[in-house]
Structures are given as structure tokens and as C-alpha cells.
Amino acid sequence: MSEVLNPFGSEIFGIWNWLDAIIRVVIMVTVMTVVVMYLIYGERKIVARFQQRLGPTRTGPAGLLQSFADALKLVGKEDLRPKRADRWVFEFAPFATFVPVFITLSILPFAQDWGVRNLPLGLFFMISALGLEIVGVMMAGLGSGNKFALLGAVRAAAQMISYEIPLVLSLLAVVMIAGTLDLNQMALQQDRYPYVILQPLAFLIFFTAMLSELHRAPFDIPVAESEIVGGYFVEYSGIRWSMFMLSEYAAMWGFSIFGAVVFLGGWQFPMGEDWGWGWQLALTMGKSLAFIFVMLWVRATVPRLRIDQLMSFCWKVLLPMSLVQILANGFILVYGGPYWLLTLTSSLGAAVLVAIIMRQAFRRSSTKTLVGAYRTQLQVPAP
């Protein structure tokens, strides 16, 4: 890590440092916009493939210009504001949602020392910036003056606060092994094997919590079209709505790169340091796209959870599992156990987690609770 890249160092107020930062941010914004446009295109194409449709085909060759056309349409659309909306809260909400996502993107290492800035506390910064995103969502929900938006905001906030805990704890398990919060350093240490091999359980928990933080299916109840029309951004149109979309997809991409750096070796594994920055960039992008592909796969396959299932899964399954992971790591690391022991314990935990999910998925409807008892009374006997 070179000295110039340390933003908390003494260079922070120099004019060259500011120019450097501005250029990097502009590049980042441009890349992000293009990536988001093609993510939307990719999502439509891939989900269409899963559902045996064609997806966009008309605009440009194979529909490649579809997102540009959509963006142009959205810019030209009338920017409506409901009469009952709280004016300033309503107008600032898209920005309050977008800014945290963008500042998380600005600390990610895309290749060795490549990124807007590399922070010594990058991982912690990421977590604190993600906490800010809830504020934007709640501003949108509260400021719209719409019951559906309010419901969406309550759901989103409850879900995001809950899933933040297993997310952070699973990251903590990796930090215990890495011994650093610096993302670049963390990637550098994974030259022989990525941390997912040492911590499969933490990886599973991270991935699940990430899906939930991003409101992706099967955790998309805050934006469930079939239940509450559109969630917290139901009253937005035109450019403000597209800002919500932009931040959603940018967050998806940013989270994927983050997960790739922490768990899959980022730009380093395999051969990142030896083969130069071109390969490193390809590695980062390839791994993040793989992450996104799995997210789309899950979205196209798994049905949406109910809110009580969502909450009990977080608090009764993911949270204890991540605590067990941290405890096991602590014992092994303090008593100097070999690294294969970490792999073994974490794999066992991952197997237990998968078994719990499977058992829950194949379980017949329970009659234990009041709701269950009510449901069994109504059950129609099989013909």
C-alpha cells in the first residue's frame, strides 16, 4: 500500500490528492453506470432464460441497447410528487439511498492498489456506510405519504437491521483469521487459497445476509410487487425512480466485489500478483459476475419467504450459527490449531446449516402454533 493511497494520512488536504480523488471518482461513476446498465440487461436476459422466454431482443443487436433506451425514457418522464408527500424528505430520499452505496464502492480494491481509495479500516468503513442506507429507505417510505410505501419501508428497515448482524458477524469470523480490516491486505493474504476454503459457514451466512440486505429474492418482501405494489419507492417516477434502481444494482455489484475480495481471494487468487493488473481486474470482475449470476439464479428459483419465516431464520438460525463460527475460530486460533481444523469445523457448520434449511423446506405444515392450528381445521381432505 503506497503512502498516497492513505486518505487519512497527511496528504489528505493537498491539491493533487484532491485532483487524484476527483478523477478516480469520475472514472468510478462512469464504470458503475455502464456496469449497472448491463447488469439490468443481464438480469432480464438470464431470468428470461430461466423462465423459457427470450428477454429483450428488439433494441439494438440482441437487445443490447435496451437499458440505454430505458434510461433515456426515464430521464424524459415527468417527475411527480404526491400532494401529501413531505417535500424535502421525499426529494432527498433517492440521494440518501444512493450516496452510501457509492461511498462503499469507492473503497473497494479492483486490482492491487486499484480503487478510489484504500482504507486501513476498509471493512469496518463498508459496514458503517451500509448502515446509512436504511435511512434513505425509511425517508422514502415516510416521506411519500403512501401506506404501501410506509409498509415497504417498515419491512425493509426491519429486515436490513436484522440481517446486518449475521452479515457483520460472518465477516468478523474472516477478520479473525486475516488479522486485518484492510481489504487490499486481506486480498493479498489469499495467495494460496481463498478464505472460503477456511470458512465455508461464514461464506454461506454472508451470502444469505447479503441477499437480504440487497432485497433480492427470496428476501424481497420490502419490494414485493404482488403484495405491496412496489415497496418504499412506489410513489417515485422518472429520474428519482431510476436513482433507486441505480443504487440497488450498484449495491449488488459492490457487495459482489466485496464478497469476492473477502471470501474468494479478490484480485489475488489465483496468480493475481504474478500476472499483473490485467489478470487481477479480470479476476475481480469475473468473481463478482459469478456472485451476481448466483443471485439471479436464486431469484429465478426460490419463492419469496414470509416475514415471520424471514425473521426467525435470521435470529434463530443465522445468528447462532455465526456466533458458533466465531467461537470455534477463537478456540482454534488462540490454541494455535492447524488451519485444516478451521476448514473442518466450518464445513461441519455449513453442513448443519444446509441440513436445517433442507429440513425446513421439506417440512409439512406445522400445527404447533395458533396459526397452524387454525390452518389444519380448514384443511380440505385429499380427494
Partner: protein, 173 residues
């Protein structure tokens, strides 16, 4: 990090302006939702001061705890309380409150001005590792006490909000 020069001074005054104006907004806003949003900006401004003092960890912890947890909790309370976002009316306590705050500010400024601050030129900001070691060795007892207190509060809160229906459900199972 040296605090001399144009940059840090500019950052300090800018942060002060943001923090003070939004803190004023918290008091002046008639709408409760606006007050909480101003409060969030105040918290972020304070985090900026921590960064200026090269205490990055505390700055981020400030954002995580005060914005991510405390402010969101207040937002939740507003969200779930009927008519809580209504405009607050005038209060007869305006003048006494102003007097009290002026008196408090006077005392604080007096104390800050009269304290003999120890100044140093060689300052090494403690790393996260130092913080962690200090918390788990020197200050382990207060740390543990705080954890136990928080756990007790957590369990107490859960017990308080249990509804009769839930009790009945548990009795059934």
C-alpha cells in the same frame, strides 16, 4: 496528523457549520421526522470531527451506532406511533430552555478555556489492534459489565413486548 494549515482549518469550520446548523435544525424543526433527519446529519458531522482527530475507528463506530442503530430506532418509533409526525405546537418552556442552554454553554466554554490542556507534537494514533488489546486486557471488567448490562436490557425488552397471543402460542407448543 498535524492540524495546522488551510485544509484542516477549512474542514474544521465546514464540519462545525454542518454540525451546528443541523443541531439547530433538530431543535427548531416542528416536524418530528425532520428533527430526526437533522439529528442524523449532526451525528455524521461529529463522526467527521473524529476523523479530523485521526480517530477513524471511533468515527466509524459513531456512524454504526448512532446513525445505524440509535437514529434508526427513533425512526422506527416515529413510524409505529400514531400521529407522531404531527407538527409540534409552541411551548411555554421556550424561554427557560434558552436560558438554561445559554448557562450550560457558558459553563462549558469557561471550563474549556480555563483547562490547562497538555499539548504534544509527537502523536501516534492508536490502531484498532491497540484498542482491542486494551479493551480485553486493561479494561476487561468494564467491558464485560457493559456486555452483561446490554444483554440484560435486551432480554428485558423482549420480555416486556411479549403479547398475550404469543404466550398462548408458546403454551400450545
Amino acid at each position: 496528523m498535524a492540524l495546522e494549515g488551510f485544509g484542516p482549518a477549512f474542514a474544521f469550520w465546514l464540519l462545525s457549520a454542518i454540525t451546528l446548523i443541523s443541531a439547530g435544525g433538530v431543535m427548531m424543526a416542528r416536524n418530528l421526522l425532520h428533527a430526526v433527519l437533522f439529528l442524523i446529519v449532526t451525528f455524521i458531522g461529529v463522526a467527521g470531527f473524529f476523523i479530523l482527530l485521526s480517530a477513524e475507528f471511533i468515527a466509524m463506530a459513531q456512524v454504526v451506532i448512532y446513525v445505524g442503530a440509535v437514529a434508526v430506532l427513533i425512526l422506527f418509533a416515529i413510524l409505529l406511533t400514531p400521529r407522531s409526525a404531527r407538527d409540534n405546537s409552541e411551548t411555554v418552556w421556550g424561554a427557560p430552555a434558552a436560558l438554561l442552554s445559554i448557562a450550560l454553554a457558558a459553563v462549558l466554554i469557561f471550563v474549556i478555556h480555563d483547562t490547562a490542556w497538555s499539548e504534544t507534537n509527537s502523536f501516534q494514533a492508536p490502531s484498532v489492534e491497540d484498542l482491542g488489546r486494551a479493551l480485553l486486557s486493561t479494561w476487561v471488567l468494564p467491558f464485560q459489565l457493559a456486555s452483561v448490562l446490554l444483554t440484560a436490557a435486551l432480554i428485558g425488552a423482549i420480555m416486556l413486548v411479549r403479547s398475550p397471543e404469543e404466550e398462548a402460542e408458546d403454551a400450545l407448543s
